[in-house]
């Protein structure tokens, strides 16, 4: 090996020693490299602006939104969080700009948790549906979800 090559290699070794490891622990990496500001997660609805037209439910590609309503002031929309793929169609096609996409990065790791209590979320409840009725419906869908998961587990075993 020529002297010049050895010198080059030696320089690289010293440089890498001084620099320290390139690989970082995940927590360290998250500190140095935060998620972008425009990260996409689940939709949020501003209740005052919502007119319960149902466009978001119709355009949702994964059918993760459901709706129940009497008229434009009384109704509720709930969301199955792990089924949402954060595409933002509901935000794009909302005629009243009532929907925005949440930018909380911790929500972006919501895969199927198999804990249905966390999976379902009432994102909008208006008028007479607010309060008791919405809570009752949420408990109902959570029960249904738990039944489905039980069936899947039985089929698998």
């Amino acid at each position: 090996m020529s002297k010049k090559k050895l010198l080059v290699m030696g320089r690289e070794v010293i440089k890498n020693q001084a620099k320290g490891p390139v690989t970082l622990h995940i927590s360290e990496r998250l500190e140095k490299h935060p998620p972008p500001e425009d990260i996409r997660t689940i939709p949020r609805i501003i209740e005052e602006k919502c007119i319960m037209c149902g466009t978001c439910v119709k355009v949702c590609p994964t059918h993760c939104l459901w709706m129940e309503k009497d008229d434009k002031d009384n109704g509720m929309i709930w969301l199955l969080r792990p089924q949402c793929m954060w595409c933002g169609h509901c935000q794009t096609y909302c005629p009243k700009d009532a929907i925005h996409i949440d930018r909380e990065p911790s929500l972006s790791v919501s895969l199927f948790s198999f804990n249905v209590r966390q999976d379902y979320e009432m994102i909008c409840a208006k008028g007479s549906f607010k309060g008791e009725k919405a809570e009752k419906k949420l408990a109902e869908v959570i029960e249904e979800g738990a039944k489905t998961i039980k069936e899947i587990e039985e089929f698998r075993s």
């Binding site: 390139v22 998620p35 972008p36 425009d38 990260i39 996409r40 119709k58 355009v59 949702c60 590609p61 793929m85 954060w86 595409c87 933002g88 169609h89 794009t92 096609y93 089929f155």
Partner: protein, 418 residues
């Protein structure tokens, strides 16, 4: 010409279509540590030389085209990028151009929206090519280069993430425009990163052309001459490595590719090194295009999203685009409602299989991983074909319910499905 051509796709499993003169047969896949993709390669050998290599595909039918018929045109905009894990933006681009044409609004899409679409497509080409030549180095036993390229790939991934909010699936395009703007602050942030990446890719090219340990593994391996290439019809970088300068962006320009200054890269050698260099040069070309697009975005104006009615009028149309792997073709039929009547996707990997297996003829078995990798196999977008073995000549159509019932019964009583 037709007599010379023998398709490499095989359906029979009894070995009756084995070529003459082969004494050993090696089977690779559908599950194999080398390949992430579900394909069954059958390699017939005489001694250490390959006589013929065949393939069976169709292990992973996902039924996406059927699923699209049950969803509206708007919903399908978000389903179609899932056709491929890496080239998602290109599939979405082809789809939205098809629907815009059917709706008759293809002239109304603004310049700014077109430029943002192009940015997304080119950024995707860069990260797809970098991923591919990293894995090629890994297959050739040069793991250092694999780690170096994948480290540098993070730069372009960060740019994509910053602009779209997602790392791999930007999903920026919509029927009639784009979803998000690319503001000036983000462009200013991206420009130095792109320039850094250009330097890094030039370094990768230097390694691929000067480092003897990798050049010896790739040079004069799996040569596909121009005459052979014309018979087996490869597309994309596989064709451009064999001296066929055919690029959809140049031959049938879409978006604003004819307004931007760039060159088609092609090599005439036809070996695996030539396809690698095509992709390396194309990465550099795409990075320079990204800089040009960012410059043009400063002055380009126009509305981001045009209003399109959910119902698409009757008609049928075909669009195509240059995906990182080759030519991507979509064909759609609209019936006047808000859902497609029929939709068909021809992904680029399918067109490249015959050409790549042709490369294997007369090569050593030890070069097999490199040659099979050379066309960037991506079966998640190829496997949309179901082959039914009709050895008895019997045909049976099974509905979804019966299929599910049979599956459950087979599971319950522990007996075979058919």
């Amino acid at each position: 010409m037709a007599e010379d051509f023998r398709s490499r796709f095989r359906v029979l499993t009894d070995g009756s279509d084995t070529p003459l003169g082969a004494d050993h047969h090696i089977f690779i896949g559908p599950q194999h540590p080398w390949a992430e993709e579900p394909a069954h390669f059958i390699i017939h050998l005489k001694g250490e030389r390959v006589v013929e290599a065949n393939i069976r595909i169709g292990f992973n039918l996902r039924g996406m085209e059927k699923a699209m018929e049950a969803r509206t045109w708007r919903q399908n905009t978000m389903l179609i990028p899932r056709a491929c894990g890496i080239c998602s933006a290109v599939h979405q681009n082809v789809y939205v151009r098809l629907v815009e044409r059917l709706a008759g609004i293809e002239d109304q899409v603004s310049e700014r929206a077109k430029l943002i679409r192009m940015f997304s497509c080119e950024a995707e080409r860069v990260h797809s090519h970098m991923l591919w030549y990293g894995i090629l180095a890994h297959d050739a036993g040069f793991d250092t280069l694999f780690h170096v390229t994948w480290r540098d790939r993070e730069i372009i991934m960060d740019i994509v993430e910053d602009i779209s909010g997602n790392r791999v699936n930007p999903a920026l395009m919509l029927i009639g425009g784009v979803k998000r703007d690319l503001p000036k602050e983000k462009a200013d942030k991206a420009r130095p990163m792109i320039n850094d990446l250009i330097k890094q890719v030039e370094y990768h090219k230097k390694v691929f052309t000067e480092e003897t340990s990798i050049v010896n593994r790739l040079e004069n391996v799996g040569v596909l001459t121009k005459e052979d290439a014309k018979k087996v019809t490869p597309n994309g970088p596989t064709a451009r490595g064999s001296g066929l300068p055919y690029d959809i962006r140049k031959t049938f320009p879409y978006e604003l590719y004819d307004d931007i200054d760039w060159n088609v890269v092609y090599y005439t050698e036809g070996d695996v090194l030539a396809t690698t260099l095509v992709r390396l040069d194309e990465t550099l070309e795409s990075l320079r295009m990204l800089n040009q697009i960012l410059d043009r975005l400063e002055t380009a104006s126009g509305e981001l999203l045009q209003r399109v009615k959910p119902r698409i009028s009757e008609g049928k149309y075909m669009t195509r685009a240059e995906a990182p792997r080759g030519e991507d073709i979509h064909y759609g039929i609209a019936n006047g409602t808000d859902k497609p009547e029929r939709y068909k996707i021809r992904a680029p990997s399918l067109g490249n299989i015959d050409a790549t297996l042709k490369r294997m003829d007369g090569e050593y078995i030890a070069d097999m991983p490199v040659i099979l990798r050379s066309y960037d196999p991506c079966f998640s977008c190829t496997n949309r074909v179901m082959i039914i073995n009709q050895s008895t000549g019997e045909k049976k159509i099974m509905g979804q319910d019966e299929f599910a019932r049979r599956a459950i019964k087979a599971k319950k009583y522990n007996r075979p499905f058919f």
